[in-house]
Amino acid sequence: MKEGRKLKKSNLHGGFASAQVVEKVQTKMKEKVSNVVHPQATVQAITPNRKKVELKKKKKKKKVAEEIGISNEKIKGNKGKLNKAKNKRKADEISSGPVDGHLIKQTDDDTNVANDATETRNRKSKKKRKMKLTSTKEIEKKNKAEEEEEDVYEISSGDEDCSRGMKKWVTDYYENRPGLDELQKRIDDFMTAHEERLEQEKQEREAKAAEGGWTVVVHHKGRKKTTDAESGTAVGSVSQAALEDKVAKKKKTEIVGHGFYRFQRRDAQRSELLALQTKFEEDKKRIQQIRAARKFKPY
């Protein structure tokens, strides 16, 4: 989209043959070529735009479609010989520039309006009209801005070096997939290394123990450990989980229902009261907060 506009500008400037402009056009052309290599891709990328254009400029749409069609055919004919095509197509592109540019201006307007959309949707149609009126002015402004913007930093495509950017990601992708065998080998290596390390650690520990002849005994607070820390198997009595399970089951199978004894009822009542009280406090706090936020306005 942008390229089109730029191209048009280069047309407008016509005689203004600054080296920079030429360079710009050339670099743009390069991109263009890389774009059009995949006809469908570009077409698809454009479709959302086209839809909108359809609404307003049906005729124009046809033209674009034709153009795209033509350029597609051309590309198909030239595939593989892109470098040659580049020079040839330059002329075509530039001549088709203004049409493209016009279209793009339109769609640009749409996107702009819509970009501001969340705030100004209501006034949209009005604004659009305005935009159209001012669009010529804007182009002038843009041109000026463009000139001022000549210090825009150019980022290279990064295809030359693999340190950053797209090229790096692609290389990383392939490097990460060395094949199943290689991966298996790496894992095996890791596992042996890992086992060795474990073995070594164990030996060290044993050696330490053997050396001093004693180990530090740490005082355990609380329940006696029932599992072996290393293997994770239960060595002592029942595990806590099982115990809890049991307790839970036991509770369920009480003979008399809850609330049979007076103390139970009293307890239940008290705890419920407590729960309610805490809830009430909570609610009170929340209401204060909500009130601070002025939430009681259902309109």
């Binding site: 991109e31 995949h38 950053r164 692609v170 989980a241």
Partner: protein, 1048 residues
């Protein structure tokens, strides 16, 4: 005792609400009185005795069909204040004070009740007043309005020049009353008073017309009665205000053919005078009793009758007659008129529904305060299927004009309703047709036809998705000749005679369509019926059904239509996995994790020709994407004691297992795969599945015992896997219960990512939010359409009080009291820091699900407070736009697209990407451009990557081609992770589905930290952005700087 005061914290809320909504009458009485008296002065100054003719409002007089309307002007018989101001029951933002004006008897003849003469004179009288009021210095402007949307009964709204400070929009409505103007016997319900109302030459009774005049005659009396009841009972007044708030929030019942403030007070005073409410009740109790009365009372069947003033009680015959003429009867003390004469049975039904659903909410644990008073239930959120008919200049006028017994618009409403009711049958649970059309100020001057400008609104609640999506409607048997004829007459060429499986031969209609467009069947039917019977064109009928589908469709169809293949492929794949023999531990179970496998993915992967077993040379002719997304699948292995102990080693062992599985599949079944050190991806029938192993320890989470016990230690990877599998299976179940769930979730996800929130809100969190919309729909019904569900999702995001409440998503309905308490405790602890510092909270959006009661899974880190704030703001604005789009006239697609088009000027800097370097360019909704801010950098596209295979590639051998296929390669994600690593001070907003724009904002520093930072590094935003560009070179197209960080 104590419990009583404790239980209802609701009462506190109600009191606060009342405090906010009540009006301070003491400070008001002075300005109101002075304005009223200045109005009276202005009116009294009108000279008497001049002749008033129809010239003042010729088109109005013509349109209501009145003859003989001349009269000589006399001053009014007096004024008095009435309505909610006089009973001190106004509820903000109401700001109009009703002023009754007694029409002088001298202006009317005895027979003026005939043929709309009264209505015409009434209007002309007001025209005179208007002219003179406009000349008064204290009047700013005078507007026309109507009494209860009845066009033939205009009223004047007068705005003062002097504004009252704490009473914005203050105005006075001048309502003419006609006390004892006519002989009431002439206006009894069985009489005909509009001569043109005939059937086959026989005059028909005109009960609605008669009631319209009687209403004016008893206005004063009834308002006095209300004043008497409400002035001595404060709680009753409070209850009235509550009921008004309640009703106003529900636009489907606070409308001309249902409830209004006057009727509410009438019902309340009925209850009061009949001892249904006693003085000990508080306002909230009265509110509840009233709702209960509305929802369940049997009295409605007989009708409500106030005790008559005269001694003679209402006879049975009279009662029966009222009941025959009107669906709802509230007879006033004069025993002559039905105060609810405008109410329709549909409206009343709707009212009862709303009342009972509110009562249901009030029985819930938190008392239903939010649902009853704070939740807006307007048409877009209430109805699944909304339709607008634009009838301006389209309706064939009935020959005898706008006003007969009923007004023309009311008759048209009825007609449309009965047509739709017949056409939709059991597909619709309820159909509401409302033509709210009297907001036109100029209609008195320019005639009643301008009232057609407003669109007629139709709201349909769908009964069930199965019904709505049914493709064949079976009509009467062919043998039943009369019924069959009727059916054919209704459906026209759409009806066909069919023989069904059970041998029946019957008339039927068939609505053929594809699986993924079945939500359009109702649309098809409605359009057909309305076109056939009302001779409307398609342009006049706007149905809000498929306007959002553009965001889910590419090409010509919804990609979800290929999901059948996908699920089949998954089935075969899991069978393959379970059947593998050559590995040490067999695969014991296979579970889907990816959202595509539960149909909630915005773009489920489509079969890729290069990911099939055999490469079909012919299919390669098309354009082939070079990337394929993966879908995660979780497997479990048989139990074993030989697993290593530490986490890293476990993960390695898992990969080793997966590699073995992959090799096994390759050698035995010839299924290809590719692997990295962390992932193994298997190609199956054109899809790529990524395998994950859940370690058996992960299963201990089922019992929900995550103690400090080292045995129970579960690595975070396993925990996450377990949570995801739980989530997947629960959502899958949900999809079975609510067929429309998946498409709403897809829309919601599309919206979230389109507004660049992909980094803030996990897909699973979105699924839970949408699930909440379906699981806790009260006070509404379960959503049954995309637009409705989507709107409710947006409203949930926008309106929920995220700071003070956890959102509990009880998927399988199994939370008990203890669970709720646990969740609440977790929530409270996450908000612990709030008191000291409002920023200091975790899980800004607290989502509790059955598998995750502490909101750890999806929202513990993001969205954070500021992200949530942004999200809520976006949701609110989108919800407003969507509601407006449903209700109002815009129907160009651009407006709808705005919902998904994010404004780029809300970021500090914007990075635009090369569109043709995004792996799935067709997922891009709108190409982004920017022409504001400073253009910092411009990048060239890389040649290293293309989203489609080059024509040259296609010529290569299949083996080489296969290598070209990139699995789960997403440059945007690579770029994002790079950004996160290297630029901590930048917060990036992106769209993971396929956007070409990334928004950047500078993260705020703590003030202390900032001081230090300033000394250490001076950050130059432009240099920084350049570095950003360098990092994403080949992908980054342009970088714009919109706002520099504040510390510079």
């Amino acid at each position: 005792m104590e419990v009583d005061t404790v239980t209802d914290s609701r009462i506190q809320k109600v009191n606060s609400l009342l405090k906010d909504i009540r009006i301070d009458y003491d400070s008001l009485s002075k300005p109101v009185d002075s304005f009223v008296s200045s109005i009276r002065e202005a009116i009294d100054a009108i000279p008497e005795g001049f002749k008033v003719t129809s010239e003042l409002a010729p088109s109005f007089v013509r349109d209501i069909g009145a003859d003989k309307v001349e009269f000589t002007f006399k001053k009014p018989n007096g004024f008095n204040l009435c309505g909610s101001y006089s009973t001190r029951c106004m509820a903000k933002p109401d700001a109009s004070v009703d002023l009754l004006l007694h029409l002088p008897k001298e202006c009317f003849y005895e027979k003026d009740y005939m043929n709309h003469r009264y209505h015409a004179k009434r209007c002309l009288y007001l025209c005179v007043l208007k002219k003179h009021l406009l000349a008064s210095s204290s009047v700013e402007k005078v507007e026309w309005s109507t009494l209860q949307n009845e066009a033939r009964k205009p009223v004047l709204v007068v705005f003062p020049v002097k504004k009252v400070d704490n009473f914005p929009g203050f105005s006075i409505r001048i309502i003419p009353s006609a006390t004892s103007l006519f002989d009431v016997a002439k206006l009894s319900m069985s009489r005909n008073n509009v001569r043109s109302v005939t059937a086959d030459g026989v005059a028909q009774p005109t009960p609605t017309y008669n009631s319209s005049i009687l209403e004016d005659m008893f206005l004063e009396e009834n308002s006095e009665l209300l004043k008497k009841t409400f002035s001595v009972w404060k709680e009753l007044g409070d209850a009235l205000i509550l009921l008004k708030i309640w009703a106003r929030q529900r636009s489907s019942i606070y409308v001309h053919d249902c409830l209004n403030g006057f009727l509410i007070s009438v019902i309340l005073s009925y209850l009061a005078t009949h001892g249904k409410i006693n003085k000990s009740l508080n306002a909230l109790d009265i509110f509840r009793v009233t709702l209960d009365f509305i929802a369940t009372s049997k009295l409605w069947e007989r009708g409500l009758f106030f005790p008559p003033q005269s001694e003679s009680p209402v006879s049975k015959e009279e009662k029966l007659q009222f009941k025959e003429l009107f669906p709802v009867v509230i007879c006033d003390s004069s025993t002559l008129m039905n105060l609810a004469f405008r109410m329709t049975s549909v409206g009343f039904h709707e009212l009862r529904d709303e009342a009972s659903s509110t009562l249901k909410c009030m029985k819930l644990r938190d008392g239903g305060f939010e649902e009853a008073f704070m939740t807006k239930i307007d048409y877009p959120v209430k109805y699944d299927h909304c339709i607008r008919l634009h009838l301006k200049g389209k309706t064939a006028m009935s020959t005898s004009g706008f006003c007969l017994d009923k007004e023309y618009w009311r008759t048209y409403e009825q007609k449309v309703h009965s047509l739709l009711e017949q056409g939709l049958g059991d597909r619709a649970k309820s159909i509401r047709v409302v033509w709210r059309n009297t907001n036109q100020d100029s209609y008195v001057e320019s005639g009643l036809s301008v009232l057609n400008r407003e669109p007629l609104f139709i709201g349909i609640s769908i009964s069930s998705i199965e019904n709505a999506f049914r493709t064949v409607d079976i009509g009467p048997d062919a043998e039943n000749k009369t019924e069959a004829l009727k059916f054919r007459k209704f459906w026209g060429e759409k009806s066909e005679l069919r023989r069904f499986k059970d041998g029946r031969i019957a008339e039927s209609t068939v609505w053929g369509t594809q699986q993924w467009t079945r939500h359009l069947i109702m649309k098809q039917i409605v359009e057909y019926i309305l076109k056939r019977h009302l001779s409307l064109s398609s342009d006049d009928i706007v149905q809000l059904v498929d306007q959002l589908d553009f965001s889910l469709i590419y090409g010509y169809k919804d990609p979800i239509s290929t999901s059948g293949n996908l699920l089949e492929a998954f089935e075969v794949f899991s069978k393959c996995l379970r059947g593998i023999k050559g590995i040490p531990l067999k695969v014991s179970s296979v579970q889907p994790l990816d959202s595509a496998l539960r149909l909630t993915s915005v773009f489920p992967p489509e079969p890729h020709p290069l990911a099939c077993g055999k490469i079909d040379a012919q299919r390669l002719q098309r354009v082939i994407p070079s990337c394929i997304p993966t879908m995660e699948v979780m497997i479990q292995l048989e139990g074993s004691g030989n697993w290593p102990m530490d986490d890293l080693a476990i993960e390695k062992t898992k990969t080793a297992f997966l590699i073995q599985i992959a090799e096994n599949l390759q050698t035995i079944k010839g299924i290809r795969s590719t692997a990295t050190e962390n992932n193994v991806d298997v190609f199956m029938r054109g899809y790529a599945f990524r395998l994950r192993i859940l370690h058996e320890r992960g299963l201990s989470l089922v019992k929900r015992e995550i103690g400090p016990d080292p045995v129970k230690h579960v690595s975070s990877a396993d925990k996450m896997l377990f949570i995801r599998s739980q989530h997947a299976s629960m959502i899958n179940g949900l999809h079975g219960r609510f067929p429309i769930y998946a498409s709403v979730a897809r829309l919601a996800k599309r919206w979230v990512s389109a507004h660049l929130f992909s980094g803030c809100l996990a897909e699973e969190a979105i699924e839970l939010l949408v699930a909440h919309v379906f699981l806790t729909p009260l006070p509404l019904g379960v959503p049954s359409s995309r637009i409705n569900g989507f709107l409710r999702f947006l409203r949930l995001l926008a309106d929920y009080d995220w700071m003070f409440y956890p959102l509990i998503v009880d998927i399988n309905n199994d939370f008990g009291r203890n669970d709720e308490k646990e969740i609440n405790d977790n929530f409270m602890s996450s908000r612990k820091g709030y008191e000291e510092d409002k920023q200091n909270i975790s899980s800004a959006m607290f989502l509790a699900a059955p598998y995750d009661k502490a909101s750890e899974a999806w929202t513990s880190l993001s969205p954070n407070l500021s992200e949530l704030k942004r999200l809520v703001a976006y949701a609110r604005s989108s919800a407003n736009v969507l509601s407006k789009l449903v209700l109002q006239e815009h129907n160009d697609s651009v407006q709808w697209e705005c919902l998904f088009r994010t404004p780029l000027n809300n970021y500090d800097a914007v990075v635009l990407l090369h569109r043709e370097k995004i792996p799935y360019p067709h997922h891009l909704l709108f190409p982004s451009e920017l022409n504001q801010g400073k253009h910092v950098a411009r990048g060239k596209a890389s040649k290293a990557f293309n989203p489609f295979l080059l024509p040259g590639d296609l010529k290569r051998s299949p083996e080489e081609l296969k290598k070209k296929l990139m699995v789960d390669f997403e440059p945007t994600k690579c770029f994002m992770s790079g950004l996160q690593e290297e630029f901590g001070t930048l917060k990036a907003w992106y769209d993971h589905i396929g956007g070409d724009a990334i928004g950047l904002t500078w993260t705020k520093h703590n003030s202390k930290k900032r001081e230090r930072d300033e000394e250490e590094v001076e950050i130059n935003p432009i240099e920084m952005l350049k570095a950003v560009g360098e990092m994403g070179k080949g992908l980054v197209r342009d970088i714009y700087l919109l706002k520099s960080p504040r510390f510079l």
